[in-house]
């Protein structure tokens, strides 16, 4: 018995060592965040509109049954990168005919209204996620995040962080084209 107890630390060390050895696998990248929702149905949610804004609210049913896949963008007025991204998304909506829906994440309604009045409102519908509950359902790791959802309500693509800068815009454009989210013959 005494021997067994004295041997326990050694056994524990060997087990930990095994995990470490596994963890050193060069193909493993601990910083990579997997996209849990890809090819999964979008979560169910039903959000009220942002008070003081004429744009209607957003529910899962609004994403389903559209002719082309649509884009859901999670934003907040307190999020500085969202400002930069706003200009990019507006351009996609105005020039490429992308359909954009918004989830206003943990934002004071009056701030959101002011933000959209200042910058313009490219969103067809905006749901106000004050509690952050819907954000959890979508598996947000931060704001902004952008999703492409097809007519069955399946999530096709997820972009973490602002779609800003040539590389990000290129990746996003590719994803939109592959999903068929842009109308044919749109100016590009």
């Amino acid at each position: 018995m005494k021997r067994l107890i004295a041997g326990l630390p050694f056994i524990a060390a060997v087990i930990f060592g095994g995990f470490f050895l596994w963890g050193l696998n060069p193909d493993r990248d601990p910083n990579e965040i997997p996209s849990v929702l890809i090819s999964q149905p979008a979560p169910a949610f039903d959000l009220d509109p942002v008070p003081g804004l004429e744009t209607p609210g957003l529910a899962r049913s609004d994403l389903v049954g559209n002719e082309r896949p649509v884009v859901v963008n999670v934003f907040a007025s307190w999020c500085v990168p969202c400002r930069a991204e706003h200009a990019v998304l507006t351009r996609f909506v105005e020039r490429e005919g992308m359909r954009l829906f918004g989830i206003n994440y943990k934002d004071k309604p009056e701030d959101a209204v002011k933000w959209l009045n200042d910058l313009g409102n490219p969103y067809e519908r905006i749901g106000s996620d004050l509690s952050g509950r819907t954000g959890i359902e979508w598996g947000l790791s931060g704001v902004p995040e952008t999703f492409i959802v097809d007519g069955d309500g399946t999530v096709l693509f997820r972009y973490v962080g602002p779609v800003v800068g040539p590389d990000a815009v290129e990746r996003f454009t590719q994803a939109l084209k592959q999903a068929g989210a842009l109308p044919k013959g749109a100016a590009s």
Binding site: K2, R3, A6, G7, P9, F10, A13, V14, F16, G17, F19, F20, L21, W22, G23, L24, N25, P26, P30, N31, E32, I33, P34, S77, W78, V80, P81, R83, A84, H86, A87, D118, L119, V164
Partner: protein, 666 residues
């Protein structure tokens, strides 16, 4: 030329370490005094050669010698001199060299000062220390040579990561390493004792000053790192349960347990195999920290440039040192005789509870830190374990620890007198409850846990002071008599009082700055006003200023209270063109009551026609400075205890035991 000398000195140090790892221990088993004695010379020779190598690398940094790859990658000619020097240990290679230097310093310390240690024990200990040296010196020379040259040399360097260009951080690694690596000698003592198969109170006494020295440095190093994160990272927090913070915290927790269990071994000849195990595990956790930081195993804000080959090499070192020592423990520890019986209510029992809680807390932190890795290995899921887990699991344990921490010093060895104990602490308990209720009445609001913590901190502070007052019989005898008694108390006893009081002060700071923190994040154009914790802050705008190797946007914030000017703060957002990175320089108005903490983030994007608007982050953290003051008290307490004549390195082996009523408790 100089870098080659450094490289050569390292190779010589390795050669000496190889000799030291074989000869003295062979001498100890054969009874050859000359072989045993050779450790003296090789240990001191090792530290000399490693110091030469370290000086050579530092010279390359000071002179901005851009023929050395390490200097190119981590320095720049325009950098202030202090950070050129600090750049020596800013990289993986340089910091590893520092690691080895400290390892050699501790080995040489035992060789130089350990005249009271029996020759055989000393020879074995130094051989074990040399095994560690061989492992790390060969690691440095084979995989991470700091003196590698580049040809053709570039005109200028890549600059040190700007976040690291800070006074706090210049000092943070040396102190932290002194602590981390200091435990190596305790580990060596433990392995030597296992090889010998004998642990006695004298052994505990030799080990204690080294443990204490390492513990003091580690305390200072962690506090400094926390302070750096607080005012440099611009997040306005002082502890984030980041994996790299955790790996420095685990040796501290277990080292604290070791410090206390070694007392029992010293005084009562008990807890022997437990003390040995703690000594092994404490250093094992230090090694684990080195491994995690340098292998990229976990995601962290810290971490060096990652190279799986290095990770594999360190894992091999870990397998040999930790696996080997624990196997030795499994083999030899059961043969150790237990000693010193005690009652359930006694100083021994108190220290046992202390050890169990500290070990459980260490296990919790270890589990939380490695859980993402374990889960990913088993299920493939990726998660991160954050503050909610650690706060929920760790804080209740610490509160329980605090209860025993206040109680422990009142208990006498072997068997404590319960009635007398209750009599002595009754007053303190009442006082602590009054303090907590007063806080409740005055503060109304804040989490319930915070009031429990206030109760705990008040109890600890009052109990510690009461115990000290009892010892010098304050107010029972004339003050002059009390002063005389205070002078006659062993310094270790004062050290304990200070350190325990330091923990209470530290707790107050933690409670204040987490329970009653107020925070505002605003998107502000010039002229915007923010009100927080009674301060009215006006943002006057931002201007661009030029630093030695950076360009900064400097915000001007005028702080008023009740219409009167308090101060003007200038938080900066710095951009380092060479390293192409940015840092936040927060501006803080610091008082004992709390810190007003401001930082400024990047301006709004150019694509927005709203120029001149900035994101400001303003926090008020009450009592946060008590954290640093408490840490300083801990360090001073440790130093006082270290200077105790009885424990001093090199004190006569069989020093006379002090009178039993003046036994230092911690």
């Amino acid at each position: 030329m100089v870098p080659e000398i450094g490289h050569f000195a390292l190779a010589l140090a390795l050669a000496l370490a190889l000799v030291q790892s074989v000869l003295p221990i062979a001498g100890a088993s054969r009874g050859n005094a000359v072989w045993m004695k050779s450790a003296q010379a090789t240990a001191i020779g090792q530290v000399l050669f490693v110091a030469i190598a370290f000086a050579a690398l530092m010279q390359a940094f000071i002179a901005s010698d851009f023929t050395v790859r390490n200097v190119v990658e981590n320095s720049h000619s325009l950098k202030p001199m202090l950070y050129k020097v600090a750049g020596t240990w800013g990289s993986h290679e340089g910091s590893l060299l520092l690691w080895i230097l400290i390892l050699a310093v501790f080995g040489a310390g035992v060789a130089w000062f350990g005249s009271n240690i029996p020759a055989e024990t000393k020879a074995r200990t130094l051989s074990v220390q040399a095994w560690i040296s061989v492992g790390f010196l060969s690691f440095l020379l084979l995989t991470s040579n700091p003196f590698e040259r580049v040809f053709p040399p570039p005109l200028d360097g890549n600059d040190l990561n700007p976040l690291l260009q800070d006074m706090g951080l210049a000092m943070h690694p040396p102190l932290l390493y002194f602590g981390y690596v200091g435990y190596s000698i305790v580990f060596s003592f433990a392995v030597a004792a296992l090889l010998e198969g004998r642990v006695d109170p004298a052994w505990a006494r030799w080990v204690r000053p080294w443990t204490l020295a390492a513990w003091v440095s580690l305390t200072a190093g962690i506090a400094l790192g926390s302070w750096w994160a607080y005012y440099e990272l611009g997040w306005g927090g002082w502890w984030f349960w980041d994996p790299v913070e955790n790996v420095s915290f685990m040796p501290w927790l277990l080292g604290t347990a070791l410090l206390h269990s070694a007392i029992v071994t010293e005084k009562r000849d008990a807890f022997k195999s437990w003390t040995i195990l703690l000594a092994i595990l404490t250093f094992s956790l230090s090694l684990l920290g080195t491994f995690i930081v340098r292998s990229g195993l976990l995601t962290s804000v810290h971490a060096f440039a990652v190279d799986p080959e290095r990770g594999l090499y360190i894992l091999g070192l870990l397998a040999v040192s930790i696996g080997g020592s624990l196997a030795l423990y499994a083999w030899r520890a059961p043969e150790m005789e237990p000693g010193g019986l005690f009652r359930p209510i006694s100083r021994e029992a108190g220290l046992l509870v202390n050890n169990l809680i500290l070990a459980a807390a260490t296990g919790t932190v270890l589990f939380g830190t490695l859980y993402p890795l374990i889960l990913e290995a088993i299920t493939g899921d990726k998660i991160s374990v954050g503050p909610p887990f650690f706060n929920a699991a760790f804080i209740p344990m610490m509160l329980a620890l605090v209860v025993f921490m206040g109680l422990g010093p009142f208990l006498s060895w072997k068997r404590a007198d319960i009635a007398g104990l209750l009599d002595r602490i009754r007053f303190v308990v009442v006082l602590a409850f009054i303090a907590a209720l007063a806080a409740w009445y005055l503060l109304n609001g804040g989490p319930i846990m915070a009031y429990l913590a206030i109760l705990g901190a008040a109890w600890l502070l009052f109990a510690t002071l009461r115990e000290w007052a009892l010892r010098i019989r304050l107010f029972e005898v004339p003050l002059a008599e009390s002063a005389r008694r205070a002078r006659n108390l062993p310094r270790a006893s004062h050290g304990m009082t200070l350190a325990h009081a330091g923990v209470a002060v530290l707790m107050m700071g933690m409670i204040g700055s987490t329970g009653w923190k107020s925070e505002e994040i605003v998107f502000a154009a010039p002229g915007t006003e923010v009100t927080i914790a009674g301060f009215d802050i006006t943002f006057e705008g931002a201007t661009q200023v030029q630093g030695p190797n950076y360009i900064a946007d400097r915000g001007t914030l005028v702080v008023r209270r009740d219409g009167e000017l308090v101060t003007t703060l200038f938080p900066e957002r710095r951009y380092y063109p060479v390293a192409e990175s940015q840092t936040t320089e927060s501006a803080i108005r610091s008082t004992l009551a709390g810190d007003l903490y401001t930082s400024i983030a990047t301006p709004a994007s150019d694509q927005v026609n709203n120029a001149g608007a900035w994101t400001l982050r303003i926090l008020y953290e009450p009592l946060v400075n008590l954290i640093w003051i408490g840490s300083i008290l801990l360090v001073i307490g440790g130093c006082l205890s270290l200077s105790d004549r009885r424990l001093r390195v090199g004190a006569p082996r069989r020093a006379k035991q002090p009178a039993s009523d003046a036994v230092p408790a911690e």
